[in-house]
């Protein structure tokens, strides 16, 4: 899933480690999210969005999600 995490992190001048520690995951998880290899759970998506004071939709792009 496409995300704006990298862009937002750079805007706030944060390292992956700092963001990871703030939202309670490992640095590798942030890397995977930024590389679009891993899709965050709802709780993690909420934590990241809350950390940047944005809504989930503003951080995560749901437009390319498969619909059944």
């Amino acid at each position: 899933m496409k995300t704006r995490i990298k862009e937002l992190r750079k805007k706030h001048k944060l390292s992956q480690e700092e963001l990871a520690l703030a939202v309670g995951v490992t640095r590798q998880t942030i890397t995977s999210l930024e590389c679009e290899k891993y899709t965050a759970s709802l709780v993690l998506a909420y934590k990241i969005a809350k950390f940047f004071s944005l809504s989930i939709e503003e951080v995560f792009d749901f437009s390319e999600m498969e619909e059944f």
């Binding site: 520690l21 995951v25 490992t26 965050a40």
Partner: protein, 146 residues
Amino acid sequence: MKKFQEKVRRRIIFVSILFCLFATYIIILLFFKDNLPGLSDNNRMFQLGFFSSIELLMIIGLIKHIRALKNKEKLKKLYIEENDERTILIMQKSGDWGIAISIIGLALGGIIASFFDQTIFLTLIGATLFLSFVKFFLKKLFSYKY
């Protein structure tokens, strides 16, 4: 975090007890080998290597956990390391795949062994059935639990 702190403390106590038990066994293997007549020298050396490696791993784990107990930052990192959702997902997926591959490997081994030795064939097929049962049981257990 207090709950996790308590969990780490209990873990340290448990591992320390195991460490002492294994250390005692290593001492017995090293200095009282005459009291273990049923154990061949090869098996004794294997057990010595095995238990020494476990002891080493325990020391590394104990140091990590004791440091985490003394430092809140390290405790938080340990908590994150253990509860990271991606790590948990990887563990779940690899566990499932690991058992599946083991079942296929054992079954294939059993079939090949059936051409040569009946005992090995039965042992491998028994292990295959046991693992299949474990996989089935765990699947049922966790689907009931979650």
